[in-house]
């Protein structure tokens, strides 16, 4: 399966080849690896890979695969489920919330022509403000949120159309 890390563009490939008792054979990024899985009473397991031993817990949440190795957390999204932002050439790029929070201000209206770097939306999360700006010239196709609204991570805030011609802009960048 192809996995991406939530909030990250990189793509990884992993597959379980076989399981025989504690022994797990997997292919990671094309390379064959042998791991050992020792389940523990608390629902977790000891996962030994490459001579290193990790305390692992895991669960599914919707399409995401959640994993902890020691204190470190991982949220993997199957590649075909990951958000469509950051894809070039899309006719209606979406400006999505980079984190859950509250929409403080919507700075544009539908039909507005915007320039690269022009602020579109101000989000507040954890009492810190984050301004989302256009990455390239575009036209505001749709405003999906209103000031004061709470939004989840990944929620679509603004839909943009290309300003002219077929070369679409790249959605939005984050500017703190």
């Amino acid at each position: 399966m192809k996995l991406t890390i939530a909030g990250d563009a990189r793509e990884f490939e992993v597959g379980i080849v076989s399981r025989d008792g504690r022994e797990v054979r997997a292919i990671v990024g094309g390379k064959q690896m042998v791991a050992q899985l020792d389940p523990l009473a608390d629902g977790g397991a000891l996962l030994t890979v490459g001579g290193r031993r990790y305390r692992a817990f895991g669960a599914r949440r919707k399409t995401a695969l959640l994993v902890t190795l020691g204190p470190r957390t991982f949220e993997f999204i199957p590649a075909d489920e990951s958000p469509r932002r950051h894809r070039r050439g899309l006719a209606t790029p979406e400006v999505t919330a980079p984190m859950p929070g509250k929409v403080l201000k919507v700075l544009v209206s539908e039909g507005d022509a915007v320039e690269a770097g022009q602020p579109l939306v101000v989000l507040e999360a954890m009492k810190m403000e984050t301004t989302l700006a256009a990455e390239s010239p575009a036209v505001v196709r749709r405003v999906c949120v209103a000031s004061g609204q709470m939004v989840d991570h990944g929620a679509v805030l603004i839909e943009l159309s290309p300003p002219a011609g077929p070369s679409a802009p790249e959605s939005a960048s984050r500017d703190q």
């Binding site: 996995l3 939530a6 909030g7 990250d8 990884f12 992993v14 379980i16 399981r19 797990v24 997997a26 990671v28 990024g29 690896m33 791991a35 899985l37 608390d42 629902g43 977790g44 996962l47 890979v49 490459g50 001579g51 290193r52 990790y54 305390r55 692992a56 817990f57 895991g58 669960a59 599914r60 949440r61 919707k62 695969l65 959640l66 994993v67 902890t68 190795l69 020691g70 204190p71 470190r72 957390t73 991982f74 949220e75 993997f76 980079p98 984190m99 859950p100 929070g101 999360a125 954890m126 009492k127 810190m128 403000e129 709470m150 939004v151 989840d152 991570h153 990944g154 929620a155 984050r174």
Partner: protein, 505 residues
């Protein structure tokens, strides 16, 4: 003691509400928890003797709603209110409302809160008490700020007069950003504190943040319980604190303690408080007074073997402060936040699906977390505080590394792994501390791109996908021990993935 308290309302939530309930029960008081609709299934409710709903999720309508809290206190027959930290804790109008309702406010008087809560006024009190302050100008006007910058040079710091915790604060590197910074700081301050006034201070390049814990009683007694080093900050928010401050000389410590006590006496300070200083070499400058219990109070408790909430209640009952115990050993606290340290510390949310809490000697975890708890973004994202004690700093530090290694939260991305790398790092071991620590040593931090660990994580994910790891039956979408609100969720929420907010309605 001059008055006998019987029932305490805790006007807060999360770990500090639980902490205060525990201290109050130890003191022999009945306790009343309050909660917003978003916290209807929280741990602090369970620990208290009773719990009262004070409003919807929005803090302005619940934890910041003075009327609602006073009404809950009256209805429950409470005779005292502990404000915790944040929220209403330093609002003079709240302390006044408590007093006018005939109850005891566990904290300083409204007059003291008003005087010290205004950072500009506090600067004046400090200066009058002979305590050095950071050079600055008591104005948020563009012209005044420009003038100060011309005289002292950039960078300068824009601070909210009513501020705290880094909110409404901006470092300005050059004149080009000055106006925008003044406006943003004022807007943030207005939003966070309802008071948009800002002022200007010289920005010290590499100061340490060192603070003194004080306790004052109604009889004029003031004692200090040593210092805490809180230099490791991110966005002006402390994330690692310790006591004692590494390498702090006895002479400087004594001077700082004396200055703090002098200031507290001058301000007629009562109950627990903290005098914050910036330390630059051996020079220290008054920063502000936090007129409440601090988040980081446990490091003092471990070092002094005391219970600061218990002491607060003793003082609120009219008791006298006693000579502080002899300090011993070293303590470090790490604040674990619901943030993705590997992706710009963006806030994270989710339900806690598994929780591994470290234990054993010298390890304390103050938290309201439990499995099943939904972590949202209505309130501060601190999930808990891990505090480790050692006979010396190095033992406390190593214990923290091990304890963070045992820690795990499945379901909420958090900063535990990041904190572990910081505490395990050489700069931290060598105590190369300043408020610029994270910028200097962890600015572009990314978890070690260790191929083995990456492979292990991917294999673990694949094992989750095929049902070999984790309880395949955990249905994160199903509310566990849900309040009645859960069933009110509309299909629209499910479709749009707004799950996180549904419980708030």
């Amino acid at each position: 003691m001059t008055r006998r308290l019987t029932k305490l309302l805790v006007a807060n939530r999360g770990e500090i509400a639980l902490r205060i309930v525990r201290g109050a029960r130890l003191f022999g008081l009945k306790t009343v928890a309050v909660y917003s609709e978003a916290d209807a299934s929280g741990a602090h409710l369970a620990a208290a003797d009773e719990a009262r709903l004070i409003g919807p999720a929005e803090a302005s309508q619940s934890y910041l709603n003075i009327e609602s809290i006073i009404a809950a206190a009256k209805a429950s027959g409470a005779d005292a209110i502990h404000p915790g930290y944040g929220f209403l804790s330093e609002r003079p109008e709240f302390a006044r409302a408590v007093r006018e309702a005939g109850m005891v406010f566990v904290g300083p008087t409204p007059e003291v809160l008003a005087a010290l809560g205004d950072k500009v006024a506090a600067r004046r009190i400090a200066a009058a008490a002979g305590v050095a302050v950071v050079p600055g100008v008591e104005s948020g006007e563009l012209a005044a700020a420009r003038g100060f910058a011309v005289q002292h040079g950039y960078p300068i710091l824009v601070k909210a007069a009513a501020g705290g915790g880094g909110r409404g604060m901006r470092v300005v590197d050059s004149e080009a950003h000055l106006e925008a910074a003044l406006e943003a700081a004022a807007r943030e301050a207005k939003s966070a504190f309802g008071d948009g006034r800002v002022f200007i201070e010289k920005y010290l390049a590499r100061p340490r943040h060192v603070e003194i814990q004080i306790l004052g009683d109604e009889h004029g007694g003031v004692v200090a319980l040593g210092e805490r080093e809180c230099s490791i900050q991110r966005r002006h928010q402390k994330i690692i604190e310790e006591a004692p401050a590494p390498g702090l000389g006895d002479a400087t410590r004594t001077k700082m303690v004396d200055a703090a006590v002098r200031l507290a006496r001058a301000a007629h300070y009562t109950n627990a408080g903290t005098v914050e200083f910036l330390l630059d070499g051996d020079q220290f400058y008054f920063l502000e007074v936090n007129a409440r219990l601090q988040v980081e109070h446990p490091v003092t408790e471990l070092r002094f073997g005391c219970d600061l909430v218990f002491e607060q209640l003793r003082i609120a009952s009219g008791g006298k402060v006693s000579a502080p115990p002899v300090p011993r050993g070293s303590a470090i606290e790490c604040r674990i936040y619901a943030e993705d340290a590997e992706h710009g510390f963006r806030p994270a949310t989710g339900r806690v699906l598994h929780l591994s809490i470290p234990g054993g000697p010298g390890v304390r975890f103050d938290s309201h977390l439990s499995e099943g708890l939904e972590v949202g973004t209505f309130y501060d994202g601190m999930l808990g505080k891990l505090i480790c004690y050692g006979t010396d700093r190095e033992q406390a530090r190593l214990r923290m590394v091990e304890a963070l290694g045992e820690f795990a939260i499945l379901g909420v991305t958090n900063t535990a792994a990041f904190l572990r790398e910081v505490v395990a790092s050489e700069p931290f071991q060598r105590a190369e501390l300043s408020t610029r620590f994270l910028d200097e040593f962890f600015s572009a931090w990314h978890a070690s791109d260790d191929a083995t660990e990456a492979a292990a994580a991917l294999i673990a994910a694949a094992l989750v996908a095929d049902g070999s790891l984790g309880t395949g039956s955990i249905d994160a979408a199903r509310p566990i021990g849900a309040s009645g609100n859960a069933s009110a969720r509309s299909p629209w929420d499910e479709l749009k993935g707004f799950e996180l907010w549904s419980r708030a309605r």
